[in-house]
């Protein structure tokens, strides 16, 4: 894949290369943060000096279905030794799927000093770069976070209903089988289940991973992304957009692509996603 700067992204500064990260492993102004789907990966080996932010344990409220609040976020930042000035660089498995999710949650608290390492773990490993098992510890910081501000990047079900009624642009980033309603969820997996299958009416189906090159996990360049999202699927960068999946993790990847790489004006992630919509009483569904 070519240099990030030459790929035509709207906001190329949100991405850093593996080379850049390798040169900043010891930089005290930078914190490298690993976020994975597979909970065994970080403890089995991670970038030297990297801390882990775990989606299930660190980012979610442990009681209600919501993200952590200001005090929780401040405690998390203190634990990983981050100040508001620290540049947080996220990376992870599966084309940076969970890394972009963590990045998105950080935006709820306005931590825009944030980057994603292009290619994530896959590219780092393919390049034979070092992984260590030693878990670093950093001096606790005092991080003063603002109250969580959901409105700019997060949509709730009522927002989605209003958006739907206004004919707004929707992107369903799940697999075609989930979109069609052919596949609901695993019988043994009640946590992510839904009573009804299908999709929100009018949503375009653009599976999230199309934005990444499977060969090395890097993001496709802007021309390729425009081909998929604009030319093939007819999305307009100027229209308000809501992306969703099953629990909001895959759609945070698409949120990142549309917002930062293609420069869409207003994209929100509906993290309630199909596990909420597919269980709601009396909302429209299309199959």
């Amino acid at each position: 894949m070519s240099d990030i700067a030459s790929r035509g992204y709207a906001n190329p500064d949100v991405l850093v290369s593996t080379e850049w990260v390798a040169a900043h492993l010891d930089d005290p102004a930078v914190r490298i943060i690993e976020s994975n789907e597979d909970q065994l990966l970080y403890p089995s080996g991670h970038l030297p000096g990297a801390v882990q932010v775990d989606w299930a344990v660190d980012l979610n409220d442990q009681l209600r279905r919501d993200y952590l609040r200001r005090d929780g976020f401040e405690a998390l930042m203190a634990r990983i030794g981050v100040t508001r000035e620290t540049v947080c660089v996220f990376y992870g498995d599966r084309n940076n799927w969970w890394a972009t999710y963590a990045y998105w949650v950080f935006q709820l608290f306005g931590h825009d000093n944030a980057r994603v390492m292009d290619g994530g773990r896959q590219k780092w490993e393919q390049e034979g770069r070092p992984l260590v098992r030693e878990v670093p510890s950093y001096a606790a910081t005092a991080y003063g976070a603002p109250e969580r501000d959901d409105a700019p990047v997060r949509a709730f079900r009522d927002d989605v209903l209003a958006h739907l009624e206004a004919g707004g642009q929707l992107v369903d980033v799940r697999s075609p089988q989930e979109y069609s309603g052919e596949r609901l969820h695993m019988p043994d997996f009640p946590n992510e289940g839904a009573l009804r299958g299908g999709h929100i009416p009018g949503a375009r189906n653009i599976p999230w991973a199309r934005a990444a090159d499977p060969a090395d996990g890097t993001f496709r360049d802007a021309a390729e992304l425009r081909d998929i999202y604009l030319n093939e699927q007819g999305l307009s960068p100027d229209a308000d957009t809501i992306a969703y999946c099953r629990i909001g993790e895959r759609s945070s990847h698409t949120w990142f692509v549309l917002t930062h790489l293609l420069g869409f004006a207003n994209v929100r992630n509906y993290d309630g996603s199909w596990t909420e919509w597919g269980n709601l009483v009396n909302v429209p569904i299309e199959k």
Binding site: E37, D38, Q39, L40, L41, P43, S44, A56, V57, D93, R94, R121, Q122, E125, H185, M186, D188, F189, N191, E192, R246, E249
Partner: protein, 148 residues
């Protein structure tokens, strides 16, 4: 005929119930470190499509070979280098399920996956690991039906 799961697996599940999350992860990584890919005498790359676990995103493959009148030895390959949960699960099945009577293998409940990996397992991962278990059980049921 109803049967209990293989005693070695039941023992492991009991043991895991006492571990906290960090201990469980350490334990599973030890299994992943012990993972041995399918020997060449059973299969060589490129592995046949019909041995691939359809629902597993870590490109896992499963084989069975006869091991005595009522048992099989299971072999695995995990082609995704980041498929560490898949590797740990394959190593667990190899160590606790290979060689067990076929009816015991067929009797392993699907929620064993959650007992081992915890409820915070993502659905994608859960689906892949269940797919591996079901592939093993498919071999056991097929062998039992053949009257072995």
């Amino acid at each position: 005929m109803s049967a209990a799961p293989p005693p070695a697996l039941a023992e492991l599940l009991e043991e895991m119930a006492f571990l906290d999350r960090a201990e469980r992860i350490e334990y599973l990584i030890e299994y992943a470190d012990r993972f041995v890919s399918v020997p060449e005498r059973i299969a060589a790359r490129p592995y046949p499509e019909e041995r691939r676990v359809k629902r597993c995103e870590s490109q896992a493959y499963v084989w069975a070979e006869d091991a005595g009148p009522d048992a099989q030895r299971y072999h695995f390959a995990v082609e995704n280098p980041q498929g560490i949960s898949a590797k740990s699960f394959c190593a667990i099945l190899d160590e606790t399920v290979s060689g067990a009577p076929l009816a015991q293998v067929a009797a392993i409940p699907g929620d064993a996956v959650f007992a081992i990996y915890g409820r915070e397992l993502s659905m994608g991962k859960g689906e892949g690991l269940l797919g591996i278990l079901e592939a093993v059980q498919g071999f056991a049921r097929e062998a039992a039906a053949r009257g072995r």
